[in-house]
């Protein structure tokens, strides 16, 4: 499957979605996005941490330090209540947009 470029502004909602499925550290978020997008979406590693900082700053996710699988100290992110609300709104509006674009792109020339 070819890789798709991320649309601007979509990284935030993808991060929210991935941490909504369980607590994740930074690298885990990267893998989760790849996994849930079926490997179609690749995230720039630097952009990831900028987005995480932005979301944490806005109170949509919260980070706490724990121990990872390789027995190292790692920062795990989870969704906050505000983040869950934002994810719901973003997902709904994304679906609306995607449906509309899909519909528009699937239009055929009318006969007659």
């Amino acid at each position: 499957m070819p890789n798709a470029e991320l649309l601007p502004g979509t990284l935030d909602v993808l991060i929210l979605k991935s941490v909504s499925l369980g607590k994740l550290h930074g690298y885990g978020v990267l893998l989760r996005i790849e996994q849930i997008s079926g490997g179609a979406l690749l995230v720039q590693q630097g952009a990831l941490y900028q987005a995480l900082a932005r979301l944490e700053h806005r109170g949509l996710i919260q980070g706490e330090w724990g121990v990872s699988d390789n027995n190292r100290r790692a920062k795990f992110y989870s969704l906050t209540a505000a983040g869950r609300r934002t994810l719901g709104q973003e997902a709904a509006s994304w679906k609306l947009l995607a449906d509309a674009i899909t519909l528009a792109l699937s239009a055929r020339p009318q006969e007659g």
Binding site: H25, G26, Y27, L30, Q45, G46, Y49, Q50, A51, L52, A53, R54, E56, H57, R58, G59, L60, W65, S68, N70, R72, R73, A74, K75, T80, A81, A82
Partner: protein
């Protein structure tokens, strides 16, 4: 919404205050990320070293990511605003490198901070006193307010007894009153001491333990109990030599023996500046409602009770009293407030407003002075334009550069703040000392909460002032110097004259000049009046006179004596007469005279009208003049002769004598030099709108130190010495003056006669008190002293502002030239004459000077008009012109050096740059 806001604040908080930790955590996260990635790559078959290398390469620069993450948190702004040690070190280096700017700017800022901190502290102590007593905000004063007369009703012994048993929200209710008592520590030598009569419970409210012995107890209040006294630390030191065995000793208080039972610690002077405490004996029944002595009532809020609860409870008691005693209590509204509020010197919002406005004015002065320092910093920054451009080229943002200049100003400001604060501590004590007359209650001692020290709040305020000063002096020039920095970088011609003095600097210079011209004018007028009063020679040998104020205690030690007002007047008149006679019999005394006010004392001012006869009234508004009643032998004892007309006959010492003598200043100022004899004057009283009686002017005396702070014009009236003991019996005579001042013409040193004077007073009557015994030459009008203080202040302000102006103008001039070195070189190379160069270079600064001088002249003309209440005379215009010329000359001198430098520029040199 709120959760998001809290998250943002928390994030900013962590990001700004724990920068190092947050950055370290990010780095740790990145390392962890790269390790996991490398492990994945290894699993895919890479060698560990290659996997690690690839993981690092994929991830990119961790420093960049840290910065991006911080930017994402909105921390970029904070990071740029941060002042580093390097900035401060650079600031210190600048201070050493530019000593002139350091000295001039430092002195100016220190001066502004001195005035600012001093004013703030004075306002805090006068308007918002803090009482140094345990939990002083729970100490409350209870008072009846007479709603019909709109004043407090202090005769409240009846209510005190009722409240003491009824109130639940206030405990330990006590009563007190202040009196002055003659203390006879050594037999036959009595001196007045500020005393408080208090119930024992007041000591419980205050919670100050005695240094030695005990405080008052309830048993001391019983009428049959022997008189005991608690003395203050200073009194203990001064009258009893700090003897620790003084407890138990007996001395006399206004003739009555009293035993010392305790000594209070230093600075205890409740209720204000008292030094002696004796029991207050309040009748257990409280006496008749609204009768008896005037007392203050004090208590402490019971634990848990609030001021509002106490007010509600007290209001209910007030309603009960109003229904029980409708005749006396119908209009009385009991109130409760904190002790701090009850002693506020400036109670009304209007007066507090004036004081706060003073603070605002001071802050404006600070901004103005610092704007000047900013001008200097701007000129300095302009010479460092290359350095700034290089910094910008190396990636420093505009904000960073501005912050660096701010840091430099802050270093200068901090040094100035230390100097300013030190001076403020000293200035406060100086100012309080000069206002002693206004701030103390006659004893000459300050209230115990006014310590003249700087409070922590003032230090905090000074810190804020310093930041403000640094912001004005550093940030403004920084913003201007970094304007169009990008543009200039592109052209890569730093120092080519692109930095211009903007409109804001023109405004600063114009304002500066206007103020420079205005300040000394105010000083000049205040000083002129002051100097006239201070240096006015008295027409008699003032060095040979001793003066004192003659007071008497209302209370008489004779049991069962009539303590009414009329009886007191008679006692006072007789004692004064006897005292005068005794003094006249002394060999060392050449003459004695009693008067309401003595020369150079602070006279009250009264508004008067003059009956000009056929001449049209000069001024509809009337005049303010000083007035005093003096004994008919006043002139004779002082050895002064009349200028015209006659002095009073001794037969005119009657309350119905309608005669007056005016002084020369009165003739000059109010009569415009016309003969006043035969004209009539009368007093205008706002409180009594009906016409007052006319007094006929019978003579003109020389100026003998009558002054009210409004000028030396004065009126004399004969002093009434007899008490009316006519057919209707003793009655209060309103013509009586209390207290009288005595002037004694002494043969030899007047000061040496003082002990003898006190001994005579005690001998004549134990209730007679002498206050302010001092040679007449030392009598200083309190208001004059305050004016002198003000003159000194305005002189200093004027000097500093003038100095600042000079330096600022010099800076602008030299800056203008240094900016245009190249242009001057080109002009000279093209054959321009020196005159043309000067005209071209100084056109703008000279325009600013012109505008400033014009604005200053308008301001000065306005001030002159305001001071005199009329348009300036020809002489004043001349003065104004002369002064303007002086300021202009000063400005021109400031231009000379830069001008010479401009012309010395060699064309080749200029073109090479």
């Amino acid at each position: 919404m709120i959760a998001e806001l809290i998250a943002r604040i928390r994030s900013l908080w962590r990001g700004t205050l724990h920068t190092r930790r947050v950055n370290a955590e990010l780095q740790e996260e990145f390392r962890h990320h790269m390790e996991l990635r490398a492990a994945d790559l290894e699993r895919a078959g890479m060698s560990p070293a290659a996997a690690a290398r690839k993981a690092r390469a994929e991830f990119g620069s961790t420093d960049d990511h840290v910065e991006n993450a911080r930017n994402a948190r909105g921390l970029r702004w904070f990071d740029e605003m941060r002042i580093s040690w390097i900035d401060l070190k650079l600031g210190l280096r600048m201070i050493v490198k530019y000593p002139v700017l350091t000295i001039v700017g430092g002195i100016s800022m220190a001066f502004a901070i001195w005035v600012g901190a001093g004013t703030f502290e004075a306002v805090r102590q006068l308007v918002f006193p803090s009482i140094p007593l345990s939990e002083s905000d729970r100490i409350v004063v209870l008072q009846n307010w007479d709603a019909s007369a709109n004043r407090p009703e202090l005769r409240a012994t009846h209510d005190f007894v009722a409240w003491r048993s009824a109130l639940r929200s206030v405990s330990d209710l006590g009563a007190y009153r202040t009196v002055t008592r003659n203390l006879e520590a050594t037999a036959g030598f009595a001196e007045p001491v500020s005393t408080a009569e208090m119930t024992a419970s007041v000591f419980r409210v205050l919670r100050v333990p005695p240094l030695l012995g005990r405080t008052l107890v309830e048993a001391d209040e019983r009428p049959e109990a022997p008189l005991v006294a608690v003395i203050g630390y200073d009194l203990w030191q001064s009258r009893f030599g700090g003897d620790s065995g003084v407890v138990g000793r007996t001395f006399r208080i206004t003739g009555t023996p009293a035993t010392i039972v305790g000594i209070m610690p230093k600075r205890f002077a409740f209720p204000r500046s008292q030094e002696l405490w004796v029991p207050l004996r309040v009748d257990v029944s409280g006496g008749e409602p609204r009768e008896g002595m005037a007392i203050g009532i004090l208590g402490r809020l019971t634990p848990g009770a609030t001021l509002e609860q106490a007010q509600t409870e007290l209001a209910n008691r007030g309603k009960i009293a109003a229904s029980d005693f409708p005749r006396t209590h119908e209009h009385l509204r009991p109130q409760v407030f904190t002790y701090a509020k009850s002693v506020q010197l400036f109670e009304g919002p209007e007066e507090s407003g004036v004081l706060l406005a003073g603070n605002v004015f001071v802050v404006m002065l600070l901004v103005l002075v610092c704007a000047n320092v900013g001008l200097l910093m701007f000129a300095r920054a302009a010479t460092r334009e290359t350095e700034i451009a290089v910094r910008a080229a190396l990636g420093a943002t505009r904000r960073r550069i501005v912050m660096q200049l701010f840091a430099e100003a802050l270093v200068l400001g901090s040094i100035a703040a230390v100097v300013g604060l030190t001076a403020a501590g000293w200035g406060i004590r100086w100012g309080f000392d000069l206002m002693r007359g206004e701030l103390t209650d006659g004893s000459g001692n300050f209230a115990f909460w006014m310590d003249g020290k700087l409070s922590p709040l003032t230090f905090l305020y000074t810190a804020l002032l310093t930041v403000l000063a640094a912001a004005v002096a550093g940030v403004l020039p920084g913003i201007l110097i970094t304007r169009n920095l990008g543009e200039r970088l592109k052209r890569a011609t730093a120092g080519a004259g692109s930095t211009q003095l903007g409109g804001i600097w023109t405004a600063v210079i114009v304002l500066q000049l206007a103020v420079t011209m205005g300040f000394p004018v105010v000083t000049f007028f205040v000083r002129r009046d002051n100097v006239r009063m201070e240096t006015q020679p008295l027409p008699f040998p003032v060095d040979h006179y001793l003066s004192a104020r003659l007071e008497m205690e209302q209370f008489s030690p004779v049991r069962g004596a009539d303590t009414g007002a009329a009886a007191f007047q008679l006692r006072y008149a007789n004692a004064a007469r006897k005292f005068e006679e005794r003094l006249e019999g002394e060999a060392a005394v050449a003459g004695v005279v009693l008067a309401e006010y003595l020369p150079r004392q602070n006279h009250p001012n009264n508004q008067i009208e003059v009956d000009y006869g056929a001449v049209a009234p000069h001024d509809e508004r009337g005049h303010l003049v000083a007035s005093t009643h003096v004994d008919p032998k006043y002139l004779e004892v002082l050895g002064v002769s009349m200028l015209s007309g006659r002095w009073f006959y001794s037969s005119e010492a009657r309350s119905d004598a309608r005669v007056a003598v005016v002084n020369k200043a009165f003739v000059d100022r109010i009569m415009d030099g016309r003969n006043p004899i035969g004209r009539r004057v009368r007093y205008v009283r706002r409180s009594a709108p009906e016409r007052q009686a006319w007094f006929e002017i019978v003579g003109v005396a020389p100026d003998m130190g009558t002054n009210s702070g409004w000028g030396p014009a004065g009126i004399y009236h004969p002093l009434v010495r007899e008490v009316n003991t006519g057919a209707k019996g003793l009655s209060v005579d309103t013509a009586q003056v209390y207290p009288l001042n005595v002037a004694i013409h002494v043969r030899g040193d007047p000061q040496a006669f003082a002990p003898r004077l006190r001994a005579i007073a005690t001998d004549v009557d134990v209730t007679l008190r002498l206050a302010e015994v001092m040679p007449l030459r030392d009598v200083v009008n309190a208001r004059l002293a305050f004016k002198a203080f003000w003159v000194r202040m305005t002189t200093i302000v004027s000097a500093v502002v003038l100095m600042m102006s000079l330096v600022a103008i010099y800076a602008v001039m030299s800056f203008a030239v240094s900016r245009r070195t190249r242009e001057i070189g080109v002009r000279v190379a093209l054959g321009a004459t020196p005159r043309r160069v000067v005209t071209a270079v100084f056109a703008q600064p000279l325009r600013q000077l012109g505008m400033g001088l014009l604005a200053g002249t308008v301001l000065v003309a306005y001030l002159v008009g305001m001071m005199r209440g009329e348009m300036p005379s020809a002489a004043q215009f001349l003065f104004l012109g002369g002064y303007t010329a002086l300021v202009a000359a000063v400005c021109l001198v400031a231009c000379v050096v830069p001008t010479r430098r401009a012309l010395a520029v060699q064309p080749t040199e200029a073109l090479r740059e």
